[in-house]
Protein backbone atom coordinates (compact mmCIF):
# COMPACT_ATOMS: atom_id res chain seq x y z
CA UNK A 1 0.00 0.00 0.00
CA UNK A 2 1.57 3.23 -1.16
CA UNK A 3 0.69 5.54 1.62
CA UNK A 4 4.10 6.27 2.84
CA UNK A 5 4.45 9.68 4.27
CA UNK A 6 7.99 10.28 3.02
CA UNK A 7 6.79 9.59 -0.49
CA UNK A 8 4.00 12.10 -0.19
CA UNK A 9 6.26 14.70 1.39
CA UNK A 10 8.65 14.25 -1.48
CA UNK A 11 5.86 14.64 -3.98
CA UNK A 12 4.66 17.78 -2.29
CA UNK A 13 8.14 19.24 -2.53
CA UNK A 14 8.40 18.25 -6.18
CA UNK A 15 5.02 19.75 -6.96
CA UNK A 16 6.12 23.04 -5.50
CA UNK A 17 9.39 23.01 -7.42
CA UNK A 18 7.78 22.15 -10.70
CA UNK A 19 5.30 24.93 -10.28
CA UNK A 20 2.54 22.36 -10.13
CA UNK A 21 1.16 24.30 -7.26
CA UNK A 22 -0.90 26.10 -9.85
CA UNK A 23 -4.49 26.36 -8.90
CA UNK A 24 -6.75 23.47 -9.69
CA UNK A 25 -9.67 25.04 -7.91
CA UNK A 26 -11.19 28.44 -8.60
CA UNK A 27 -11.48 28.93 -4.90
CA UNK A 28 -13.43 32.18 -4.93
CA UNK A 29 -16.08 30.75 -7.22
CA UNK A 30 -16.32 27.55 -5.20
CA UNK A 31 -16.53 29.50 -1.94
CA UNK A 32 -19.42 31.45 -3.39
CA UNK A 33 -21.22 28.25 -4.35
CA UNK A 34 -20.57 26.95 -0.84
CA UNK A 35 -21.87 30.16 0.71
CA UNK A 36 -18.61 30.74 2.54
CA UNK A 37 -16.88 34.07 2.91
CA UNK A 38 -13.16 33.45 3.04
CA UNK A 39 -10.64 35.93 4.25
CA UNK A 40 -8.13 36.97 1.62
CA UNK A 41 -5.22 36.24 3.92
CA UNK A 42 -6.40 32.64 4.32
CA UNK A 43 -6.59 31.96 0.62
CA UNK A 44 -2.95 31.16 -0.26
CA UNK A 45 -2.57 28.56 2.48
CA UNK A 46 -5.95 27.02 1.68
CA UNK A 47 -5.08 26.91 -1.99
CA UNK A 48 -1.83 25.09 -1.35
CA UNK A 49 -3.50 22.56 0.91
CA UNK A 50 -6.36 21.90 -1.47
CA UNK A 51 -4.01 21.59 -4.42
CA UNK A 52 -2.06 18.92 -2.61
CA UNK A 53 -5.19 17.02 -1.72
CA UNK A 54 -6.58 17.24 -5.22
CA UNK A 55 -3.25 16.04 -6.64
CA UNK A 56 -3.40 13.12 -4.26
CA UNK A 57 -6.96 12.08 -5.10
CA UNK A 58 -6.16 12.24 -8.78
CA UNK A 59 -4.39 8.97 -8.08
CA UNK A 60 -7.74 7.46 -9.07
CA UNK A 61 -6.90 8.21 -12.68
CA UNK A 62 -4.67 5.15 -12.54
CA UNK A 63 -7.75 2.95 -12.18
CA UNK A 64 -9.56 1.72 -15.24
CA UNK A 65 -13.24 2.25 -14.50
CA UNK A 66 -14.63 1.70 -17.95
CA UNK A 67 -18.09 0.08 -17.73
CA UNK A 68 -17.94 -0.03 -13.96
CA UNK A 69 -21.21 0.73 -12.20
CA UNK A 70 -21.23 3.40 -9.55
CA UNK A 71 -21.77 2.72 -5.86
CA UNK A 72 -23.66 5.55 -4.20
CA UNK A 73 -24.97 3.46 -1.33
CA UNK A 74 -24.08 0.08 0.07
CA UNK A 75 -27.20 -1.33 1.69
CA UNK A 76 -28.77 -2.99 -1.33
CA UNK A 77 -32.12 -1.80 0.01
CA UNK A 78 -34.85 -0.63 -2.33
CA UNK A 79 -38.30 0.93 -2.00
CA UNK A 80 -38.06 2.07 1.58
CA UNK A 81 -41.11 4.27 1.98
CA UNK A 82 -43.66 5.24 4.56
CA UNK A 83 -47.44 5.17 4.44
CA UNK A 84 -49.14 8.52 3.97
CA UNK A 85 -50.22 8.88 7.57
CA UNK A 86 -49.73 12.19 9.35
CA UNK A 87 -48.24 12.39 12.84
CA UNK A 88 -47.99 15.32 15.25
CA UNK A 89 -45.47 18.07 14.55
CA UNK A 90 -43.35 20.12 16.95
CA UNK A 91 -44.98 23.08 18.67
CA UNK A 92 -44.32 26.52 17.22
CA UNK A 93 -42.31 27.30 20.31
CA UNK A 94 -40.07 24.26 19.80
CA UNK A 95 -39.65 25.09 16.12
CA UNK A 96 -38.49 28.60 16.95
CA UNK A 97 -36.46 27.65 20.02
CA UNK A 98 -33.12 27.65 18.21
CA UNK A 99 -33.32 31.05 16.61
CA UNK A 100 -32.47 34.47 17.88
CA UNK A 101 -34.43 36.18 15.15
CA UNK A 102 -38.17 35.70 15.00
CA UNK A 103 -41.30 37.76 14.45
CA UNK A 104 -44.93 36.74 15.11
CA UNK A 105 -44.25 33.00 14.96
CA UNK A 106 -42.01 33.27 11.92
CA UNK A 107 -38.28 33.18 11.38
CA UNK A 108 -36.96 36.59 10.48
CA UNK A 109 -34.02 37.09 8.15
CA UNK A 110 -32.48 40.07 6.43
CA UNK A 111 -34.14 41.13 3.21
CA UNK A 112 -33.79 38.52 0.48
CA UNK A 113 -35.11 40.59 -2.37
CA UNK A 114 -33.45 43.81 -3.32
CA UNK A 115 -36.27 46.17 -3.98
Amino acid sequence: MKIDIKHVALRQAQDKQNGQGQMKINIKHIAKLANLKLKDEDLPRLETQLNEIVSYVEKLNEVNTKNIEITSQVTGLENVTREDTPAPSLTQEEVLSGTRSKHNGLFKVGAILEE
Binding site: H29, K32, L33, N35, I70, S72, Q73, T75, L77, E78, N79, V80, T81, R82, E83, D84, T85, P86, A87, S89, L90, T91, Q92, V95, L96, G98, H103, N104, G105, L106, F107, K108, V109, G110, A111, I112, L113, E114, E115
Partner: protein, 453 residues
Protein backbone atom coordinates in the same frame (compact mmCIF):
# COMPACT_ATOMS: atom_id res chain seq x y z
CA UNK B 1 -40.91 28.38 -28.63
CA UNK B 2 -41.38 28.81 -24.93
CA UNK B 3 -40.66 26.16 -22.32
CA UNK B 4 -42.61 25.63 -19.18
CA UNK B 5 -41.80 24.21 -15.78
CA UNK B 6 -44.90 23.52 -13.76
CA UNK B 7 -44.96 22.52 -10.12
CA UNK B 8 -47.99 20.66 -8.85
CA UNK B 9 -48.43 20.38 -5.13
CA UNK B 10 -49.91 17.01 -4.23
CA UNK B 11 -52.71 16.79 -1.70
CA UNK B 12 -51.32 13.86 0.26
CA UNK B 13 -52.18 13.76 3.95
CA UNK B 14 -48.56 13.97 5.07
CA UNK B 15 -45.45 15.63 3.70
CA UNK B 16 -42.99 14.09 1.25
CA UNK B 17 -40.25 13.00 3.61
CA UNK B 18 -41.77 13.29 7.06
CA UNK B 19 -45.09 12.67 8.77
CA UNK B 20 -46.09 16.30 9.30
CA UNK B 21 -49.57 17.07 8.02
CA UNK B 22 -49.38 18.51 4.50
CA UNK B 23 -52.68 20.32 5.01
CA UNK B 24 -51.03 23.57 5.99
CA UNK B 25 -53.26 26.05 4.23
CA UNK B 26 -54.43 28.76 6.60
CA UNK B 27 -52.70 27.27 9.62
CA UNK B 28 -50.66 29.15 12.21
CA UNK B 29 -47.12 29.59 10.90
CA UNK B 30 -44.51 27.00 11.85
CA UNK B 31 -47.01 24.58 13.40
CA UNK B 32 -46.79 21.88 10.71
CA UNK B 33 -43.08 21.44 11.18
CA UNK B 34 -40.94 18.65 12.63
CA UNK B 35 -37.18 18.11 12.93
CA UNK B 36 -37.06 16.64 9.40
CA UNK B 37 -38.79 19.42 7.45
CA UNK B 38 -37.07 22.07 9.57
CA UNK B 39 -33.73 20.57 8.54
CA UNK B 40 -32.51 20.08 12.09
CA UNK B 41 -29.08 18.46 12.45
CA UNK B 42 -29.14 14.68 12.17
CA UNK B 43 -32.53 14.27 10.52
CA UNK B 44 -33.21 11.87 7.65
CA UNK B 45 -35.92 11.68 4.98
CA UNK B 46 -38.36 8.77 4.47
CA UNK B 47 -40.28 9.05 1.21
CA UNK B 48 -44.07 9.06 1.14
CA UNK B 49 -45.28 6.03 -0.82
CA UNK B 50 -48.55 7.63 -1.90
CA UNK B 51 -46.78 10.70 -3.24
CA UNK B 52 -44.51 8.52 -5.35
CA UNK B 53 -47.46 6.56 -6.72
CA UNK B 54 -49.29 9.76 -7.54
CA UNK B 55 -46.24 11.16 -9.31
CA UNK B 56 -46.12 8.01 -11.41
CA UNK B 57 -49.84 8.34 -12.09
CA UNK B 58 -49.27 11.85 -13.39
CA UNK B 59 -46.34 10.68 -15.50
CA UNK B 60 -48.37 7.86 -17.03
CA UNK B 61 -51.30 10.20 -17.67
CA UNK B 62 -48.94 12.49 -19.57
CA UNK B 63 -47.88 9.57 -21.75
CA UNK B 64 -44.43 9.36 -20.18
CA UNK B 65 -42.19 6.34 -20.00
CA UNK B 66 -41.95 5.21 -16.41
CA UNK B 67 -38.75 3.31 -15.87
CA UNK B 68 -38.36 0.39 -13.52
CA UNK B 69 -35.69 2.08 -11.48
CA UNK B 70 -35.56 5.63 -10.21
CA UNK B 71 -33.75 7.42 -7.46
CA UNK B 72 -33.68 10.68 -5.59
CA UNK B 73 -30.86 13.20 -5.86
CA UNK B 74 -29.79 16.23 -3.93
CA UNK B 75 -30.02 19.58 -5.64
CA UNK B 76 -27.66 21.84 -3.73
CA UNK B 77 -28.21 25.57 -3.42
CA UNK B 78 -28.61 28.13 -0.70
CA UNK B 79 -31.76 30.05 0.00
CA UNK B 80 -33.40 30.83 3.33
CA UNK B 81 -36.54 28.91 2.35
CA UNK B 82 -34.53 25.73 1.80
CA UNK B 83 -33.78 24.36 5.26
CA UNK B 84 -31.23 21.67 4.38
CA UNK B 85 -29.26 23.72 1.87
CA UNK B 86 -30.36 21.16 -0.69
CA UNK B 87 -33.66 20.09 -2.10
CA UNK B 88 -34.36 16.40 -2.48
CA UNK B 89 -35.34 16.09 -6.10
CA UNK B 90 -34.62 13.81 -9.05
CA UNK B 91 -31.89 14.40 -11.60
CA UNK B 92 -31.04 11.77 -14.17
CA UNK B 93 -33.55 9.08 -13.24
CA UNK B 94 -36.89 10.87 -12.81
CA UNK B 95 -40.10 8.87 -12.49
CA UNK B 96 -41.35 9.96 -15.92
CA UNK B 97 -39.59 10.78 -19.19
CA UNK B 98 -40.61 11.74 -22.73
CA UNK B 99 -44.37 12.20 -22.66
CA UNK B 100 -46.76 14.62 -24.31
CA UNK B 101 -49.98 16.56 -23.99
CA UNK B 102 -52.18 16.94 -27.06
CA UNK B 103 -53.49 20.44 -27.67
CA UNK B 104 -56.10 21.18 -30.34
CA UNK B 105 -53.60 21.82 -33.04
CA UNK B 106 -50.32 20.53 -31.76
CA UNK B 107 -48.60 18.22 -29.38
CA UNK B 108 -46.49 19.63 -26.54
CA UNK B 109 -43.69 17.26 -25.61
CA UNK B 110 -43.10 16.61 -21.92
CA UNK B 111 -39.42 16.22 -21.19
CA UNK B 112 -39.71 14.88 -17.68
CA UNK B 113 -41.93 14.44 -14.65
CA UNK B 114 -40.17 14.24 -11.33
CA UNK B 115 -40.82 14.24 -7.63
CA UNK B 116 -39.41 16.75 -5.18
CA UNK B 117 -40.16 18.60 -1.97
CA UNK B 118 -41.56 22.09 -1.58
CA UNK B 119 -39.66 24.91 0.08
CA UNK B 120 -40.78 27.04 3.00
CA UNK B 121 -42.87 30.14 2.39
CA UNK B 122 -41.00 33.42 2.35
CA UNK B 123 -42.73 36.75 2.67
CA UNK B 124 -40.93 39.97 2.11
CA UNK B 125 -41.55 43.00 4.23
CA UNK B 126 -40.34 46.31 3.01
CA UNK B 127 -39.58 48.99 5.51
CA UNK B 128 -40.89 52.49 5.05
CA UNK B 129 -38.75 54.68 2.86
CA UNK B 130 -40.12 58.09 3.72
CA UNK B 131 -39.73 57.90 7.45
CA UNK B 132 -36.77 59.59 8.98
CA UNK B 133 -36.29 56.46 11.03
CA UNK B 134 -35.30 54.19 8.21
CA UNK B 135 -36.84 50.81 8.94
CA UNK B 136 -35.11 47.85 7.47
CA UNK B 137 -36.39 45.41 4.91
CA UNK B 138 -36.64 41.85 6.08
CA UNK B 139 -38.10 38.51 5.13
CA UNK B 140 -40.14 36.08 7.18
CA UNK B 141 -40.13 32.31 6.88
CA UNK B 142 -42.90 29.85 7.57
CA UNK B 143 -41.81 26.21 7.29
CA UNK B 144 -45.35 24.76 7.17
CA UNK B 145 -44.98 24.31 3.40
CA UNK B 146 -41.46 22.95 3.67
CA UNK B 147 -41.39 19.34 2.50
CA UNK B 148 -44.86 19.18 0.96
CA UNK B 149 -44.70 16.86 -2.08
CA UNK B 150 -44.29 18.57 -5.42
CA UNK B 151 -44.36 17.10 -8.88
CA UNK B 152 -42.44 19.07 -11.46
CA UNK B 153 -43.46 18.77 -15.08
CA UNK B 154 -41.03 20.14 -17.62
CA UNK B 155 -41.94 20.60 -21.26
CA UNK B 156 -39.73 20.84 -24.28
CA UNK B 157 -39.60 24.40 -25.69
CA UNK B 158 -42.60 23.67 -27.88
CA UNK B 159 -44.88 26.63 -27.22
CA UNK B 160 -45.04 29.46 -29.71
CA UNK B 161 -47.41 31.83 -27.97
CA UNK B 162 -49.24 32.56 -24.77
CA UNK B 163 -52.44 30.95 -26.05
CA UNK B 164 -50.82 27.56 -26.35
CA UNK B 165 -49.41 27.87 -22.88
CA UNK B 166 -52.86 28.62 -21.47
CA UNK B 167 -54.39 25.70 -23.32
CA UNK B 168 -51.67 23.37 -22.09
CA UNK B 169 -52.10 24.52 -18.51
CA UNK B 170 -55.85 24.02 -18.62
CA UNK B 171 -55.34 20.50 -19.88
CA UNK B 172 -52.73 19.76 -17.26
CA UNK B 173 -54.95 21.13 -14.54
CA UNK B 174 -57.86 18.99 -15.73
CA UNK B 175 -55.71 15.88 -15.76
CA UNK B 176 -54.35 16.24 -12.23
CA UNK B 177 -57.82 17.05 -10.98
CA UNK B 178 -59.18 13.95 -12.70
CA UNK B 179 -56.46 11.94 -10.96
CA UNK B 180 -57.58 13.54 -7.70
CA UNK B 181 -53.96 14.08 -6.65
CA UNK B 182 -53.96 17.87 -6.41
CA UNK B 183 -56.40 20.72 -6.21
CA UNK B 184 -54.22 22.41 -8.82
CA UNK B 185 -55.54 25.78 -7.76
CA UNK B 186 -53.21 28.42 -9.13
CA UNK B 187 -54.37 31.17 -6.81
CA UNK B 188 -53.63 29.00 -3.82
CA UNK B 189 -50.24 28.01 -5.15
CA UNK B 190 -51.08 24.33 -5.70
CA UNK B 191 -50.02 24.83 -9.27
CA UNK B 192 -47.09 27.11 -9.95
CA UNK B 193 -45.42 27.77 -13.20
CA UNK B 194 -42.25 29.23 -14.46
CA UNK B 195 -42.11 29.94 -18.13
CA UNK B 196 -38.67 30.26 -19.66
CA UNK B 197 -38.77 32.74 -22.42
CA UNK B 198 -36.05 33.83 -24.72
CA UNK B 199 -36.03 35.16 -28.22
CA UNK B 200 -33.57 34.43 -30.92
CA UNK B 201 -32.94 36.45 -34.02
CA UNK B 202 -33.38 33.87 -36.71
CA UNK B 203 -32.71 34.23 -40.42
CA UNK B 204 -36.34 35.04 -40.96
CA UNK B 205 -36.19 37.69 -38.29
CA UNK B 206 -37.24 37.53 -34.71
CA UNK B 207 -38.14 34.14 -33.38
CA UNK B 208 -39.04 32.96 -29.94
CA UNK B 209 -36.58 30.59 -28.42
CA UNK B 210 -35.97 28.89 -25.18
CA UNK B 211 -33.19 27.60 -23.11
CA UNK B 212 -34.09 25.53 -20.14
CA UNK B 213 -31.92 24.77 -17.21
CA UNK B 214 -32.88 21.13 -16.95
CA UNK B 215 -30.03 18.67 -17.20
CA UNK B 216 -30.66 17.44 -20.70
CA UNK B 217 -31.21 20.82 -22.25
CA UNK B 218 -28.89 21.33 -25.14
CA UNK B 219 -30.44 24.26 -26.84
CA UNK B 220 -28.07 26.16 -29.03
CA UNK B 221 -30.60 28.93 -29.08
CA UNK B 222 -30.22 32.30 -27.39
CA UNK B 223 -27.34 32.98 -25.05
CA UNK B 224 -29.65 33.99 -22.24
CA UNK B 225 -32.77 32.83 -20.51
CA UNK B 226 -35.45 34.72 -18.69
CA UNK B 227 -37.44 32.83 -16.16
CA UNK B 228 -40.68 34.39 -14.96
CA UNK B 229 -41.96 33.60 -11.49
CA UNK B 230 -44.84 34.65 -9.22
CA UNK B 231 -47.57 33.91 -11.71
CA UNK B 232 -50.70 32.89 -9.90
CA UNK B 233 -53.49 32.79 -12.45
CA UNK B 234 -54.13 31.69 -16.02
CA UNK B 235 -54.82 35.26 -17.02
CA UNK B 236 -51.44 36.42 -15.80
CA UNK B 237 -49.58 33.61 -17.56
CA UNK B 238 -50.72 34.89 -20.90
CA UNK B 239 -50.08 38.51 -19.99
CA UNK B 240 -46.65 37.81 -18.54
CA UNK B 241 -45.55 35.90 -21.60
CA UNK B 242 -46.85 38.54 -23.98
CA UNK B 243 -45.25 41.33 -21.98
CA UNK B 244 -41.99 39.47 -21.84
CA UNK B 245 -41.91 38.88 -25.58
CA UNK B 246 -42.50 42.58 -26.18
CA UNK B 247 -39.85 43.59 -23.66
CA UNK B 248 -37.23 41.24 -25.05
CA UNK B 249 -38.00 42.21 -28.66
CA UNK B 250 -37.43 45.86 -27.85
CA UNK B 251 -34.04 45.08 -26.34
CA UNK B 252 -33.04 42.89 -29.27
CA UNK B 253 -34.21 45.49 -31.76
CA UNK B 254 -31.72 47.89 -30.21
CA UNK B 255 -29.03 45.32 -30.95
CA UNK B 256 -28.60 44.40 -27.29
CA UNK B 257 -29.00 41.10 -25.49
CA UNK B 258 -31.50 40.80 -22.65
CA UNK B 259 -30.03 39.92 -19.28
CA UNK B 260 -30.20 36.36 -18.11
CA UNK B 261 -32.34 36.67 -15.04
CA UNK B 262 -35.35 35.72 -13.05
CA UNK B 263 -38.23 38.16 -13.35
CA UNK B 264 -41.38 38.29 -11.32
CA UNK B 265 -44.84 39.13 -12.55
CA UNK B 266 -46.02 42.32 -10.93
CA UNK B 267 -49.77 42.32 -11.15
CA UNK B 268 -50.09 45.96 -10.17
CA UNK B 269 -47.67 47.24 -12.76
CA UNK B 270 -48.97 44.69 -15.25
CA UNK B 271 -45.47 43.79 -16.29
CA UNK B 272 -42.52 41.64 -15.35
CA UNK B 273 -39.92 43.12 -13.04
CA UNK B 274 -36.39 42.04 -12.40
CA UNK B 275 -36.15 39.96 -9.24
CA UNK B 276 -32.51 40.16 -8.52
CA UNK B 277 -31.66 37.99 -5.59
CA UNK B 278 -28.57 38.19 -3.48
CA UNK B 279 -27.73 34.61 -4.30
CA UNK B 280 -26.79 34.38 -7.92
CA UNK B 281 -24.33 31.65 -8.75
CA UNK B 282 -26.17 28.50 -9.79
CA UNK B 283 -24.47 25.17 -9.98
CA UNK B 284 -26.76 22.68 -8.36
CA UNK B 285 -24.12 19.98 -7.81
CA UNK B 286 -26.62 17.15 -8.08
CA UNK B 287 -25.55 13.84 -6.61
CA UNK B 288 -27.46 10.69 -5.61
CA UNK B 289 -29.28 11.15 -2.29
CA UNK B 290 -27.43 8.75 0.03
CA UNK B 291 -30.23 8.76 2.61
CA UNK B 292 -32.86 7.18 0.35
CA UNK B 293 -32.48 3.77 -1.30
CA UNK B 294 -33.50 3.61 -4.95
CA UNK B 295 -37.11 3.04 -5.96
CA UNK B 296 -37.79 0.03 -8.14
CA UNK B 297 -41.09 -0.71 -9.82
CA UNK B 298 -41.80 -4.01 -11.51
CA UNK B 299 -43.75 -3.80 -14.75
CA UNK B 300 -46.69 -5.33 -12.94
CA UNK B 301 -46.62 -2.54 -10.36
CA UNK B 302 -46.53 0.08 -13.07
CA UNK B 303 -49.49 -1.53 -14.84
CA UNK B 304 -51.27 -1.73 -11.53
CA UNK B 305 -50.86 2.03 -11.05
CA UNK B 306 -51.91 2.52 -14.66
CA UNK B 307 -55.08 0.54 -14.08
CA UNK B 308 -56.03 2.94 -11.31
CA UNK B 309 -55.95 5.90 -13.67
CA UNK B 310 -59.50 6.98 -14.45
CA UNK B 311 -60.64 7.83 -17.95
CA UNK B 312 -59.00 11.16 -18.70
CA UNK B 313 -60.71 14.23 -20.23
CA UNK B 314 -59.59 13.63 -23.83
CA UNK B 315 -60.82 10.06 -24.03
CA UNK B 316 -63.91 10.91 -22.09
CA UNK B 317 -64.76 13.71 -24.50
CA UNK B 318 -64.30 11.45 -27.48
CA UNK B 319 -66.39 8.75 -25.89
CA UNK B 320 -69.17 11.22 -25.04
CA UNK B 321 -69.31 12.38 -28.65
CA UNK B 322 -69.32 8.79 -29.89
CA UNK B 323 -71.54 7.19 -27.31
CA UNK B 324 -74.05 9.96 -26.63
CA UNK B 325 -74.04 11.72 -29.97
CA UNK B 326 -73.55 15.12 -28.40
CA UNK B 327 -71.58 17.89 -30.09
CA UNK B 328 -67.84 18.12 -29.38
CA UNK B 329 -68.42 21.55 -27.91
CA UNK B 330 -70.88 20.16 -25.35
CA UNK B 331 -68.65 17.21 -24.55
CA UNK B 332 -65.75 19.53 -23.94
CA UNK B 333 -67.69 21.53 -21.40
CA UNK B 334 -69.03 18.43 -19.69
CA UNK B 335 -65.61 16.82 -19.23
CA UNK B 336 -63.93 19.90 -17.77
CA UNK B 337 -64.58 18.59 -14.28
CA UNK B 338 -64.69 14.91 -13.59
CA UNK B 339 -67.62 15.39 -11.23
CA UNK B 340 -69.67 17.12 -13.93
CA UNK B 341 -68.89 14.39 -16.42
CA UNK B 342 -69.86 11.65 -13.97
CA UNK B 343 -73.01 13.52 -13.12
CA UNK B 344 -73.90 13.85 -16.75
CA UNK B 345 -73.48 10.14 -17.34
CA UNK B 346 -75.55 9.16 -14.34
CA UNK B 347 -78.31 11.52 -15.36
CA UNK B 348 -78.30 10.14 -18.89
CA UNK B 349 -78.63 6.66 -17.42
CA UNK B 350 -81.47 7.64 -15.09
CA UNK B 351 -83.19 9.64 -17.82
CA UNK B 352 -83.18 6.79 -20.27
CA UNK B 353 -86.35 5.19 -18.89
CA UNK B 354 -88.13 8.54 -19.29
CA UNK B 355 -86.96 8.74 -22.87
CA UNK B 356 -84.66 11.66 -22.20
CA UNK B 357 -81.94 11.97 -24.80
CA UNK B 358 -78.29 12.63 -23.80
CA UNK B 359 -78.52 15.85 -25.77
CA UNK B 360 -81.42 17.01 -23.61
CA UNK B 361 -79.43 16.20 -20.46
CA UNK B 362 -76.32 17.92 -21.81
CA UNK B 363 -78.28 21.03 -22.75
CA UNK B 364 -79.85 21.27 -19.35
CA UNK B 365 -76.57 20.81 -17.48
CA UNK B 366 -74.71 23.25 -19.67
CA UNK B 367 -77.41 25.93 -19.75
CA UNK B 368 -78.94 25.68 -16.31
CA UNK B 369 -75.78 24.73 -14.42
CA UNK B 370 -77.59 22.80 -11.70
CA UNK B 371 -75.92 22.47 -8.33
CA UNK B 372 -74.72 18.91 -8.68
CA UNK B 373 -73.99 18.59 -5.02
CA UNK B 374 -77.57 19.33 -4.03
CA UNK B 375 -79.48 17.69 -6.85
CA UNK B 376 -79.06 13.97 -7.33
CA UNK B 377 -79.27 12.77 -10.95
CA UNK B 378 -82.74 11.25 -10.43
CA UNK B 379 -84.05 14.62 -9.26
CA UNK B 380 -82.42 16.28 -12.20
CA UNK B 381 -84.24 13.91 -14.52
CA UNK B 382 -87.54 15.09 -12.99
CA UNK B 383 -86.54 18.70 -13.45
CA UNK B 384 -85.57 18.13 -17.03
CA UNK B 385 -88.84 16.34 -17.73
CA UNK B 386 -90.81 19.29 -16.42
CA UNK B 387 -88.88 21.70 -18.57
CA UNK B 388 -89.08 19.39 -21.53
CA UNK B 389 -92.91 19.41 -21.33
CA UNK B 390 -92.97 23.16 -21.18
CA UNK B 391 -90.74 23.42 -24.09
CA UNK B 392 -92.58 20.83 -26.10
CA UNK B 393 -95.71 22.96 -25.96
CA UNK B 394 -95.56 24.12 -29.48
CA UNK B 395 -96.72 27.44 -30.72
CA UNK B 396 -99.45 26.02 -32.90
CA UNK B 397 -101.12 24.28 -30.00
CA UNK B 398 -101.00 27.45 -27.97
CA UNK B 399 -102.47 29.55 -30.79
CA UNK B 400 -105.22 27.01 -31.19
CA UNK B 401 -106.07 27.20 -27.48
CA UNK B 402 -106.12 30.99 -27.54
CA UNK B 403 -108.38 31.03 -30.56
CA UNK B 404 -110.77 28.68 -28.76
CA UNK B 405 -110.84 30.78 -25.57
CA UNK B 406 -111.42 34.02 -27.39
CA UNK B 407 -114.31 32.47 -29.31
CA UNK B 408 -115.93 31.15 -26.18
CA UNK B 409 -115.62 34.42 -24.21
CA UNK B 410 -116.74 37.27 -26.42
CA UNK B 411 -117.76 39.39 -23.42
CA UNK B 412 -114.27 39.43 -22.05
CA UNK B 413 -112.86 40.23 -25.46
CA UNK B 414 -115.19 43.19 -25.71
CA UNK B 415 -114.25 44.43 -22.23
CA UNK B 416 -110.57 44.22 -23.11
CA UNK B 417 -111.04 46.21 -26.24
CA UNK B 418 -112.85 48.86 -24.15
CA UNK B 419 -109.75 49.19 -22.11
CA UNK B 420 -110.40 46.75 -19.25
CA UNK B 421 -107.01 45.15 -19.54
CA UNK B 422 -107.46 43.36 -16.24
CA UNK B 423 -109.55 40.71 -18.00
CA UNK B 424 -106.30 39.47 -19.51
CA UNK B 425 -105.61 37.44 -16.38
CA UNK B 426 -108.97 35.72 -16.73
CA UNK B 427 -108.22 34.85 -20.36
CA UNK B 428 -104.74 33.53 -19.54
CA UNK B 429 -106.29 31.29 -16.89
CA UNK B 430 -108.79 29.96 -19.40
CA UNK B 431 -106.04 29.25 -21.93
CA UNK B 432 -103.99 27.43 -19.33
CA UNK B 433 -106.84 25.05 -18.52
CA UNK B 434 -106.60 23.86 -22.10
CA UNK B 435 -102.87 23.26 -21.90
CA UNK B 436 -101.11 20.31 -20.27
CA UNK B 437 -100.48 20.75 -16.54
CA UNK B 438 -97.16 22.33 -15.48
CA UNK B 439 -96.85 24.19 -18.73
CA UNK B 440 -95.00 27.42 -18.52
CA UNK B 441 -97.11 30.58 -18.82
CA UNK B 442 -94.29 32.20 -20.69
CA UNK B 443 -95.42 33.88 -23.87
CA UNK B 444 -99.17 33.29 -23.33
CA UNK B 445 -99.83 36.89 -22.38
CA UNK B 446 -98.03 38.23 -25.41
CA UNK B 447 -99.80 35.89 -27.78
CA UNK B 448 -103.26 36.81 -26.43
CA UNK B 449 -102.44 40.50 -26.69
CA UNK B 450 -101.36 39.98 -30.26
CA UNK B 451 -104.55 38.13 -31.12
CA UNK B 452 -106.68 40.92 -29.62
CA UNK B 453 -105.11 43.66 -31.69
Amino acid sequence: MIGLETHIELKTKSKMFCACSADYSGREPNTHVCPVCLGLPGTLPIPNKTAIEWCIKIALSLNCNVSNISKFDRKNYFYPDLPKGYQISQYDEPFGLAGWIQLKDKRIRIRRVHMEEDTAKLTHQFGTQNSKLKTQNFSLIDFNRSGVPLVEIVTEPDFENAGEVTEYLQKLQQIVRYLDVSNADMEKGDMRLEPNISLAVSEQGLAVGNKSQQPKAKSQLPPYKVEVKNINSFRFVAKAIEEEIVRQSEILDKGETPLQETRGWDENKNTTVSQRTKEEAHDYRYFPEPDIPPIRFADSQISNIKSQIPELPDSKRERFVREYAIPVYDAEILVRERSDADYFEQTVKDGKKHNLTPKQVANYIINKKPNIEKTVPAELVELILVTQETKELDKEELEHAIELVLEENPKAVEDYKKGKTQVLGFLIGKVRTLLPPNSSSEGIRELIEQSLK
